[in-house]
Symmetry: C2
Amino acid sequence: MKKITAFAPATVANVSCGFDILGFAIDQLGDRVTVALNDTQELKLADIQGDGGKLPFEAKKNTCSVAIRAMLDHLGSDQGMDIYLEKGLPLGSGMGSSAASAAAALVAANTLLGTPFSKEELVPFAMEAEKIACGAGHADNVAPSLMGGFVLIRDYNPLDLIKLPVPLGLHCTLLHPHLELNTADSRSVLKKQISLKDSTVQSGNIAGLIAGLFLQDFQLISRSLKDVIAEPSRALLIPGFYELRESIQSIGALGSGISGSGPTIFVLSPDKEIAIMAGKVSEQIFEKMGLDVDVYISEVNDKGAYVLE
Amino acid sequence: MKKITAFAPATVANVSCGFDILGFAIDQLGDRVTVALNDTQELKLADIQGDGGKLPFEAKKNTCSVAIRAMLDHLGSDQGMDIYLEKGLPLGSGMGSSAASAAAALVAANTLLGTPFSKEELVPFAMEAEKIACGAGHADNVAPSLMGGFVLIRDYNPLDLIKLPVPLGLHCTLLHPHLELNTADSRSVLKKQISLKDSTVQSGNIAGLIAGLFLQDFQLISRSLKDVIAEPSRALLIPGFYELRESIQSIGALGSGISGSGPTIFVLSPDKEIAIMAGKVSEQIFEKMGLDVDVYISEVNDKGAYVLE
């Protein structure tokens, strides 16, 4: 029976001043999902690899099947499918692991069905999976994982996604320190009320970042990569955060921030050499603290999820 | 003795979701200032027209002379000048009246001195004049009045100004209802603390507006022209505000907002015809309430202040 495999990339959400509204996609690192039609009316998790046994096989709880179910419901279809998930992403790392699984599953299933939806149109189905995985149907990981590049989520009612240009040469270093960080903690440390002044500063910086992406102005991007709202609270949960920032800026990186709700840290650089150096410098900082860290270096992926030949 | 006359345009600050960080310049409507060198070491207000006798002749209190003094101090110069101000803008209207006077004075004086400064470099001197006029050295009127177009004030420390593209065809209708609105009141109604949610919504909209300007996407601009921070409090001070919004949107205008701290309302439209219609529709609304209103229709001025031949 026909089957299709798709890949969907890791993503960085809460891009500094783009807290809750901006995400971007990474190259190479991500999840693979193979989907095959079956002759039942059920979605079945046939296999899950690379998750250390942590992900559910139950179709109502797995992000792959929940996303595909939302798509099938929209089509009024009761087609059954077998789903094979290969996790390339660590769970709970802040790199959009649940989003990548849902995105890959959707692209594979959508292709099997003759591509009734564009990748942008798949986003709401992936958001249904995020509700299961994260408790909230946010789009700032699933939209860039599907669509690639930087995606602005301007609004949710109705969903308004704007794909932004990726400046030539822009590279990302992802640093995943081996420490457990509870997403619920990470959200609970956020202040519910903020000052008008901080809100205005945040607006100025996100406006500057968007302009910097369009103008391909790395210095403007660098000046704008400041989060006065979420980061001051969340950075306290990540040892070495500010020391790392200082070090990567001194070697010419554009800036750093917490990826999603952490503990992964992203660093943006104007070229690959600086991105590699940023990785080395950061490894040393974490090593000094006795923390293991995984380092990934990649361009910003402008393509998003895709079918593997 | 040599003298030079410059024109500086009216400006709209607090552009909806661009509260405190975004302004743009209007065509035609504005102030003229003529400056002549004199052989004293003093700045002298030789004449003021069109202000109804309200503006000060004292050099330390007039925005023209305060701005020029800041520039001369920067140059270490004690050159004296005579200043002739022709107000084209009503005072206290929210159209950047004090900013236009300072900008025109600076461009004239700078040209007389052989143009030691670019228009962007003149902004800090004009901000000194805003301190006198408004109590705060903000840049969101003086920067667009000098530089033209849309100007993002990303930061003040140090000053970071980003000129944004003006979409082809974009027109502005300014509606100045004849009612007194105290700027101090207008600021005091603002909340000092806002919810994280509102701050995030505002960030999404300013990000969308900036992207819309770059993409020349009128619909995106329209969807983004929403201010959840200052407008809900300030609009209560302007009768007819929401009725007007509904009317102008129904005829295809992109959106509306309070210009500066009011009472002037700006309407953005995708072409001149709609801008004119928006003016007529608004006139009727204010007429019904027994309020006189001045209507100005103009393209967004991408040129800023300039020397008149």
